[in-house]
Amino acid sequence: GPKVLQIPSHQIIDMGQMVTLNCDPVSNHLYFYWYKQILGQQMEFLVNFYNGKVMEKSKLFKDQFSVERPDGSYFTLKIQPTALEDSAVYFCASSLEAGRANERLFFGHGTKLSVL
């Protein structure tokens, strides 16, 4: 079936550094999402992105976070600078549409970010 690829699977960085998480969404999908999951907690919505713009973001999407998808390449989440509380697994997802029942989100395997 359709796959969402996330690169890398694990990233270790020092606090204060910049990090970019990469997502290769399903090829014909138009809506893109990032979710954050701290160990033992639920996945929490960060942001969704459509037509080059942020459509919705949660309070977890701090000023240090940004997303983009230049020229149909990777959908990226950039954190600059990173903080210790950014350590989590970040899931990328994509969907063809939004707001339709049974419109499934296709998730990647996640990128585990460890901020030291």
Binding site: Y33, Q42, M43, N48, A98, E103, F106, F107
Partner: protein
């Protein structure tokens, strides 16, 4: 405040039994309730979903029961099979607003007694 609560945290049943996973929610304006499952080493994937116009949705061995008044919904897995072992996440969203923003529960780790 956790908007979608899920229980139990883990569940183990005998093969062939019916497993029941429970969720409740706070926001009465949620109007779409999917269940996702995640097998070890895999990404979460949509299993089944329901809208509040129905109180039951069935797909093979998987059934969602929905109680709007009590703001609860549950996933029943009939005739549990070893291949059902996974973590199951309930979620909720405001589909009517055109949003696919999902609020997830913490997950139930489901397995069968070997």
């Amino acid at each position: 405040q956790q908007q979608v609560r899920q229980s139990p945290q883990s569940l183990t049943v005998w093969e062939g039994e019916t497993a029941i996973l429970n969720c409740s929610y706070e926001d009465s304006t949620f109007d779409y309730f999917p269940w996702y499952h995640q097998f070890p080493g895999e990404s979460p994937a949509l299993l089944i979903a329901i809208r509040p116009v129905s109180n039951k949705k069935e797909d093979g061995r998987f059934t969602i029961f929905f109680n709007k008044r009590e703001k609860k919904f549950s996933l029943h897995i009939a005739d549990s099979q070893p291949g059902d072992s996974a973590t199951y996440f309930c979620a909720a969203s405001h589909l009517g607003t055109g949003s696919n923003r999902l609020t997830f529960g913490k997950g139930t780790k489901f397995s069968l007694i070997p």
